[in-house]
Every structure is written in C-alpha cells, then in structure tokens.
Amino acid sequence: MTQPPYRDLGLTDDEFQKVESTLGREPNDAELAMYAAMWSEHCSYKSSKVHLRTLPIDGPQVLVGPGEDAGVVDIGDGLACVFKLESHSHPSAIEPFQGAATGVGGIIRDVLSMGARPVALLDPLRFGPLEEAHNRWLLGGVVAGIGQYGNSIGVPTVGGEVKFAVAHTQNPTVNVMCVGLAPADRLVRARAEGVGNLLVLIGAHTGRDGIGGVSVLASRTLDETSEEQRPSVQIGDPFYEKLLIEACMELIDAGLLVGLQDLGGAGLTCAVSESAARAGTGADLDLGAVPLREPGMAAFEILTSESQERMLAVVRPEELDEVRAVCEKWGLVSAVVGRVTDTGNIRAVLGDTIVAEVPARSLADDGPEYRRPLEAPPRLEELNADDPAYANPPSDLRGAVLRVLGSPNVASKRWVTEQYDSIVQGNTIAGPGASAAVLRLEGTMRAVALSTDGNGRYGHLDPYLGAAHAVAEAARNVACAGARPLAITNCLNFGNPERPEVMWQFAEAVRGMGDACRALGTPVTGGNVSFYNETGDSAIWPTAVVGMLGVIDDYRLSPRPAFGPGQVVYLLGETFAEVGGSEYAEVMLGKVSGMPPGLDFEREAALHRLLVDAASRNVLAAAQDCADGGVAVALAELALGGETGFAVALPGDLPAHLALFSESASRAVVSVVPENVEAFEALGNEHGVPVARLGETGGPRMVIEDVELTVAEARHVYESAIPDLLLSRAEAG
C-alpha cells in the first residue's frame, strides 16, 4: 500500500477536494492518510455533529464539557469526577476478547489524560440471544476480555448492563464507561501549550496496528470482507497499561506535565493535531524518533498507527530528565518525538524528508459536516398501533412472574459480574447488583453513585422516548441510591447514518436525550457515537446508552436494594396500562410493539427529589427503581437482595397482569421501617409523589395478591437462567 487511493481510505470526492483546497496542492500519502483518519466518521463526527450541538452542556457543576477526552464534574470538596463512555463494538464483533479488552484500555486512557486516577469501570453490553452458539462465543469472549483487562490494571468494574435482542446477533454492542477522580485544581488538559515544549511519547512501541482501522474498520458496515480485515484487531497489554497509569499519576502528582493526551483512533495524528488545535499552536514531529515495533514502517503508518497503551505528554525541556526518570522507574519507554511550535501546522519529518505539513486545525476542527437526510422508518406507525395492553391476560400469572424473572434480560448477571473484580481500591460501597454503584470518596463519608442505562426496545419503537427513558432511568437508579443526579455521559449506538431511517432514529434520540437532560438538570459532559452497527441492511436497535453520575453526602444513608424483615413496602408513582415495548410483552407475547411508556419529566424529577430527601433523612431502608418487568421484578429483586419475602396488594384497578408488569416510568419500590412510616408519607406529600402502601416484608414467601411463590423458587429461576443457557452448551476456545 504505497499510494493509498483516497476512496479506499474512505474519503469522498468532495472531501478529497476539500483537502486539496485546504493545502492548495495535492496531499501526499502521509497527509492523505492523516485526513482520511481524522475526517472519518469515528474521529470527525461528521454525520452527528449537527445534532449533538443541540444537547445541553452547561451547568455550574460542569468543569469540562464535551470536546475533551472526557467530561469533568465538580463533586464538591475540591474534587473532580472525570467520566466517559465509549464503544468498542466493531472490533469485539470479530475478536470478542481482544476487542473488548482494548476497549477498556482506550477509555481508561481518556480518563487518565485528564489527570485523573481511574477508579471504576461500567460495561453496558448487548448481544443476540444465547440460544445461538455465536452469541455465546461473543458474550464469553467480551466478558473475559473486559475482566482480564480491568482486573489486571486494578480498576474495579462496579456496574453495567447485559441485554439480549435478535437485532444484536452479528453486531454486539460493547460500551465501556470509565470514571476517574482528581483534585479539581490538578486537572491536566490535552493541550500542546508553550512554544518550545517537548512532545514526549510514553508507553508501548508503535506497530502496524489498526492502520486505517478508524476509516476502514470503524466507519464501514461489517460485511463478508470483515474476516479479511484482520490486522485491524489488536492485542491489549493490560500490564503495560497499568504501568502507564502509575507512571502518569506520578508525573501528574509531581507537576511535571504541561499537557497529556491519549493516543486512540488516528493515533499520533489525532493526539498531536487535537492538542495543538486546542492550544492554537503547531508541532514539529520527528517520526524517526518514534520507537517502532516493526522495521520499515512508512510515515503514514507511524502517523496513523493505533497501537495501544501509548500517551503523549507535553513537557517543559528543563523537566525532561525528571519525566524520563519516572518512566524508567516504571519500565516504560519514552521518546521525545517533537516540539510545540507557533506555526499552527503539524510538520512531520522522517530522515531528512518533510513527509507532511498540514494545518492542525484543518485536521482537528475543520472536518466535513453533514446534515444527512432523515426519514421515519416505514411501518413504525403500524408497530406503534399494536398495543400489547389489549392482548389476552396470561392464564397463569404466577408462571408469568417466573418467566419474566427468568428472562435473560432480567435474570441475574452473576455469571458475568463474578468475572470482574469490583472491590479493588477498597471503596466499593455498592457494586454489581445494586441499582447504582456507590463509590466512597476515600477518607470521607461522601460517595459518587453511577449507573448506565439504555433500552433498545423503547428505542426501536420510539427513539425519542427511548433515549429520554435512558436518562430518566439512569437518574432514577442513582436517586434510588440516595444520590443527587448531576450529569451524564453517553454512547449512541446506531446503524448506518447514510440511511435516512437510521439518521432519523439518531436525530430523535439526541432530541430525547437533550430534552430529558434539560428537564432533569443533568447536562451532557461528553460521549461517543458508534455508527455502522449493522450487517447487510439489518441494523441494531437504536441504542442510546446513558452513564449517570450522582453524589451522596453520607454513603451510610444510601438505601440498599434489599428488603429486611418487618418493613413497610411502598410503591412510589403511578401505574398505567403501559406494556408497549415491555419485557412482559416480549417474553409472554413475543411482541416488541406499541408505544413505550410515557414520560413526564416533572413527575420523574419529583420522584428523584423524594428519594434523595428521604434517604438523607435516613427514612428509607431499601429502594429499587421499577424498570424492565415492572413492579413484579422490582419486588422480587428486593426480596432476593435481602433474602426476605413480603405480602403485598397493588393499588388501582388495572387488571392484575398490567399492574404487575406495566413499565410506567417515574416509579420505585421502597421499604421503610415502621417508625419512619409517618415521616415518609409526609415527605411523599411534600414532594407531590403518589405513595401507595403495598404491604409488609418478612418470611420466606413472596405474595402479591393471588400470586404466591417462595424466595427460594424465585432465586432458583433468577440465578440459573443465564448459566443454564451458557454452561449447558459452553464452547471453549
């Protein structure tokens, strides 16, 4: 590949002309590769930008919003929380273990580059049904890969999601969120400030990894040729990443870094052009100084290699020796590969040849931008009109409860979460299994609460509501832990944006997410867009995944998702005949149809206020949001969590199956010790949230009116569903 033709690299004719007019000449190989990588969908957000711009990004709590490696939120006491969600679905589809592992590595470096120590991972995952061997292979590989990488580097995986849908066969969705902490006054930025400062490449050697991966692999639809794009998959080295984390933390603590940027998509080109563009500077690069893993790499390969486990540091010349000493201590290679200039250009030399000279801004900021055509999918209205609420009720309600509880979407994810270290670093107050993970801020009683949520069925039926529900549910989960929702990050997983239906879904999802975030006061601090998740013309369901951050002042007051004996059970919020897109309809009726539940932001916000207020006054014993599977599942999870049964009756006059399985939004199930009943009901009144007393906890049986089962029975169904699907037909390899 000596003369990469621009089309093979994914540039259109118009884009190529734009490069020519920027440079006033034809680009050479290296320059072409740089533009192709930086102007790919993955790096330039060319199809999504116009929509993302509408999202609310401001708030007094936001220290750094979208546009940097990760968002940063002020969580009080001089501490900053850095967080970001990212997708690694495409590599995971062809090599699940390494694809997912390197996904963890990449998002960790995003957080690290803000100067924060990575303290937690969450992994929202979507697969096709486990009845198919291929999907079992994908799940097993992805989970083992995330586990191997996260466990090895000592960052706990404290939450996530695992959901299943036919639309994800062939196209799994692998998102990973990383959370980091730093003193607010010690954040580092990805800026190449200070003319004369040195650019130091720290970490792994550069090889021919993922050359063109950005433009070719991530930005094109998977097809038969995917099998041949093999070299684009990479092998992660978590050990090296661990050294990189420790070395960077030591450099930051010693104040030795002017700037820090990870090398991700588009490699050195992206890191240098973005950090120079942000600072309004330029950079001279000596490609001959880049430590190479393979001999004879061409300039374009060195410039766009996506080799993992590398960081670019901006260093004052007089501090270079100290920087190198720290790298040496941790056994890391470091090399001065360039310096900051005031030219505004990225100029790269290899030997005595200038191999590239292009304006930094043209790469980083002036990429193409498209307002692609939008069109609602045909037959959506028909689908929406088919409301499963009108279907016949199940003949056996008790059986229905057990089936929903044993549905892989709802059932215990222990098989997955046991493969993750969720306690290393010693601050995990609540990990997998809680509605939100709760992480103590070391040495204080304060904690952050974290949740990731997304609902593919809702997104499929109404992408606006799907994304809005993702925000609402994530905030509700955080509020159920007693924490105030503060801000979100997100990952938008969609099909091919060049198809008007997909682009319509995307636009609607962004609109829904924006409206929900505005209404709930949780601005968007960053995120990631993953397009082209489709095979042939069958795309994944529109999957907006939201990562919510909240704060609680005293983690000891955080309600647990577990009933204790002798408590009073309440349902908060109102239940309507809403089973469109519900777990119930899919499991019992085989239908994903109708409209998703309505969402009234005012009611939603009121519920959160009540939960946070009640927790802070220590009147909540347990809390669990109502989501997939409705009240039935929320009650069961609380009973399983605390090994404690209950006897309740549901309010209102809905038919029993709707009362049990409706997924009406803005609801939660809580329990309260008898002494706090009055105080709690008064708070409900005060916050204007309907509070219905359902019954009491205690004993080994779970009784919901006429439906009766034992906790042991429920546990068996809940715990064995996924292992039964996996282990009875496990494949090794």
Binding site: Q148, L243, V424, G426
Partner: protein, 235 residues
C-alpha cells in the same frame, strides 16, 4: 512500645498494595511501602506480598516476580523465622519462589471468579492465625483466575500430616464441601504455610475484609493475629 510495622511490596502490576497498606493501618499497624527493586524491607517486622497481576500474570502467575531483587530480602526474612504473608498474587509468588509448597493453576471453570467465600481455619500455629481457633470460619472475598491449589500426592500428604494447610474453603457453617470450593483447589485448600509456620500464603483477600462498610470482616483475624504476635515477640 512501638507500633509493629508491615512491609508491603509493590511489584509492577501489583493492584492491592494500597489496600493492604490501608488495612494494616486500620488494624493498628504501620504499613511501609517497599518497591520491588529495593533490596531491604525497611526494617519491617513482617512482610506482605499483595494481590494483583505482577508482570501481567504473563507466562505463569508469579513466575517473573519471583526473580525480583526484593525477593532476596523476603527469603532472608523468611529464613530468620519472621512473618511473611502472600495474598493471592503474593501467594503465587511465594510458591514460584519456592518459599511455599505447591502451585496455583487456572480455576477449574477457566473463568476469573470474584465472590465472598468462607474459609475454615485449620491451624493456629502461624503468626496470622494465632488469635483464631482451628475450626473458626472467616468470611473473605476471593478474586482470581488462577487460584486452583495443586501439589503432587506426596507433597499433599506431607502438608496434611504436618498441619501445613492453614485455610480450607467451606460453607458458612464450616463444612468442607465440593460446592464450597470456588476454583477446584485440591482438598479445598485456600491457604498453606511453610514447615516452620512463619510463611503463609492464601488466595482470599484479608485486606479487603477489615472494613465493614466495604466488605466482610473475616480478614481482621489475620491482622489481629499478626499484630499481637509481633507485639508479643517484642515484649
């Protein structure tokens, strides 16, 4: 009388080193951070090799770390009859270094496993179990991919005969059953000691089991035993 000190060695890839230092402090001792390239233990009374993935667990867990410069000091400390504790990866390193018998191979399930388990104390004749009674049941977390304890038949018999098995996986009631064995370890072995009794290794993480806000508290017994035996030795 001064506070007993425990050196915690950080190898490249150690993860629970900070957690171990914190636990030592919470239990009333003083932790001393030691780097793998150091050649002495900073005069510490005891040494703890922490959990994690030294050298990425590449090749074989603990294999490369066993060659670290600090290991000469650890050997000397052990030879002098002073307390050495290996937790998880630290246990693997002690086995690789020949300071403990046996080896740890991949879990029977082939998957990493993180869960709370119970272990039964089999002997009080170590500085880390002196405050316990044989038969006591401790709740502690495990988190490892290669924790299946193996040894050849002769070594196993010797271990049993000499009372060198320190912990066994068991139920909450202390029964040693196959179901209570999380990784396939021979005879449910979770931890062993050397002949002299001063070197102990175990797969569970006592340092993650001292603070009730974040976990169970079964690890307190090990630290209490150690710290009081050190205080006893000093008086």
């Amino acid at each position: 009388m001064s506070t007993p000190t425990v050196a915690v060695v950080t190898f490249p890839g150690s993860n629970d080193d900070r957690d171990a230092l914190r636990a030592v402090g919470q239990m009333g001792g003083e932790g001393i951070a030691v780097w793998h390239r150091d050649t002495d233990l900073g005069g510490a009374d005891a040494v703890l090799l922490p959990g994690g993935f030294a050298y990425g667990d590449y090749l074989r867990t603990g294999a490369i770390a066993a060659f670290a410069p600090i290991m000469d000091a650890v050997r000397a400390h052990a030879a002098a009859g002073r307390p050495v504790l290996g937790v998880c990866n630290g246990f693997q390193i002690l086995c690789e270094a020949g300071l403990l018998p046996g080896a740890l191979i991949r879990n029977r399930t082939l998957t990493f496993v993180h869960r709370r388990v119970h272990v039964r104390v089999e002997t009080a004749s170590t500085p880390f179990t002196a405050a316990a009674e044989p038969g006591d049941v401790l709740e502690v977390p495990i988190k490892h991919g290669e924790g299946q304890y193996v040894a050849d038949a002769a070594a196993l018999e010797r271990l049993e005969a000499d009372g060198q098995v320190v912990f066994r996986y068991c139920t909450a009631l202390g029964e040693v059953t196959p179901d209570a064995n999380p990784n396939g370890a021979m005879r449910n072995i979770a931890g062993v000691r050397n002949d002299a009794g001063n070197v102990v290794g175990l797969m569970p993480h006592p340092e993650h089991a001292v603070d009730p806000d974040v976990g169970p508290v079964g690890g307190q017994t090990l630290f209490e035993s150690l710290l009081s035996s050190l205080v006893g030795a000093a008086t």
